[in-house]
Symmetry: C2
Subunit: 340 residues, 2 copies
């Protein structure tokens, strides 16, 4: 494929360095892979030559020879969604610190693409991080069988996972509203098949029941801004004095519509979001929201993955469960007095 005799054109290889340094390619390889296995002087000489020639070990070739790529695959439903973007950032950052590269795949919320992409990536990564996977249990099992995987923000039997149930935070939210005198709250649900939406619904219902709070539910709904604007009117009509939305985006929709109608927040109605994204901290009024430790979610996922790669024989899949918490801001306040 190359003219024998003539020097290779583009890149400098270990062979070139070896020749110039008076050692064998093996030694050059060792200088980069297992530096302690080579005598200091030799190593110094080799590294000097390498530096001078601008030699960098070819990671592709290394991958092929070693059978591992030092790369992690990350599959997210929508990278433009701040929720996933933050997780992605954490994963990326953590992985890099551990000298792993990251393959990113955005499925655009499409379960089938998710499955197909997982297969595509499977061949070129050491492990797969699946964030909020929507794919079916069967497909999931198949993927997990083919390549080491960690589930983020979803729980499934027999698969290592990292989750942060919003239960704690939502319970706190309900208690918070109750303490402020609210007795009737509206709950806006998320997408129909969303694992987290179901979890959140349960959590609010349960907490409200404990405190004898009335709950009016709306949804399931696509977790969009305009859904919030739409439901705001319904919640008002139902007589709720507080709204808990499935996520911040929907909560902002509520905020927007209430402002349009001249309903004051939090004086007339209190609003609670979830995920505590950038949206919550930058809105006016700032949004009381349930904080999910997204950074930790991403970092722990990487750690779990790396641990698994280092100990391939671990039997029981480790499940990491993180805690959520309520962050109180300006969008929640005392319930309006009945006689007002």
């Amino acid at each position: 494929m190359n003219e024998p005799g003539k020097p290779r054109s583009g890149t400098v290889g270990a062979e070139d360095v070896a020749a110039r340094a008076g050692v064998s390619p093996s030694t050059v390889s060792r200088c980069f892979a297992t530096p302690h296995q080579v005598r200091p002087e030799t190593r110094a000489r080799v590294l000097a030559v390498a530096e001078q020639l601008g030699y960098r070990p070819n990671r592709i070739a290394r991958s092929l020879a070693q059978g591992r790529t030092h790369t992690l695959g990350l599959i997210v439903p929508d990278i433009a969604n701040p929720f996933f973007a933050v997780i992605t950032k954490a994963v990326q950052s953590r992985a890099r610190r551990k000298d792993y590269a990251v393959f990113l795949a955005d499925t655009d919320e499409h379960p089938d693409d998710e499955y197909e992409l997982a297969h595509t990536l499977a061949g070129q990564v050491d492990g797969l991080l699946l964030v909020s996977p929507r794919m079916t249990g069967d497909h999931l099992a198949e993927i997990v069988h083919r390549v080491p995987s960690v589930l983020v923000n979803r729980d499934a039997a027999g698969i290592p996972s990292v989750t942060a149930p919003s239960d704690d935070g939502l319970r706190q939210a309900v208690a918070h509203l109750h303490a402020l005198g609210h007795r009737h709250l509206a709950l806006i649900l998320g997408a129909r098949n969303s694992w987290s939406s179901e979890q959140r619904g349960h959590a609010v219902r349960f907490a409200a029941e404990q405190l004898s709070l009335k709950v009016t539910e709306f949804g399931p709904h696509e977790p969009k801004f305009h859904t919030g604007t739409q439901v705001a009117d319904l919640a008002l009509a139902a007589g709720a004095t507080a709204v808990i939305a499935h996520n911040d985006l929907m909560a902002l929709g509520v905020l927007s519509r209430l402002a349009d109608r001249g309903v004051r927040v939090p004086d007339d109605v209190s609003v609670v979001g979830a995920d505590d994204t950038l949206l919550a901290t930058t809105s006016t009024p700032a949004l009381t929201s349930v904080r999910i430790p997204l950074n930790a979610l991403g970092e722990r996922a990487v750690d779990l993955m790396l641990h698994r790669l280092a100990n391939p024989d671990t039997k029981t899949p480790h499940r990491t469960v993180l805690e959520s918490e309520l962050i109180v801001r300006r969008s929640t306040g005392p319930a309006p007095r009945k006689d007002a």
Copy 2:
């Protein structure tokens, strides 16, 4: 490395398929790489066996043999920033449609990491997409020399790029405010060494001068929310009736502080953002903002890259320039009457 004689343990290779299908590995390879070079019946048989055995060509090995990876590298300053997240999504989506995978690297706004990461990725991708690179011109030149690159949201001599100057949109914004009767506007600048911040500053200054508008500048500032809250007071004190912020996030900060002080938007003060991110559409009031065609930015970058890879001998680096436009929403309105 493998026990000869015994079948390989983990993956099925082209050889396995070849054996079962009664052909040579070469043919199997051709069935996947250049399907038209093999007789239909043979191909069908091979593909059937491959399907049955669950064979998937090993992309790593292919990369090594071909010398190209069918992978694009994407380097962004901050994936958690909606601006870059949207570009990333577009790149990812476009690349995948063209059957390219994407390596993601987040530099966390760190110019040195940017350079180092570029070198790391250089070896394992066919091309590099550099988004808003902060690295020095020298480093940039070095990277570009080593691997085909396209600049996104930055312009540099001799390097193909895709940009969307906010000039048009900002000129429209200034005209918009002028038409509404505003005569004194505050301009909040972005980061000190930001190429786009400089561009935007010039654009506003120039447009304002044309219309004899008074401009009071603040900054350069880190483009953060709290910067906006801080500058809001200063702008008010300066007597400006309208604020143009370097981006949506800062504009939201202004909005927040104005609300705290009881200053009404847009009745008392008008506010304009830039980038038209999710933040702008979901704020209350919704933010008038300069839309940058982020999707197009990402897609065109990929197209440009792929075009370059297909025609490596192109001399003149193509520069794609996209247009921005003002999106008018609720945060801008008539200037308050002087006698009010």
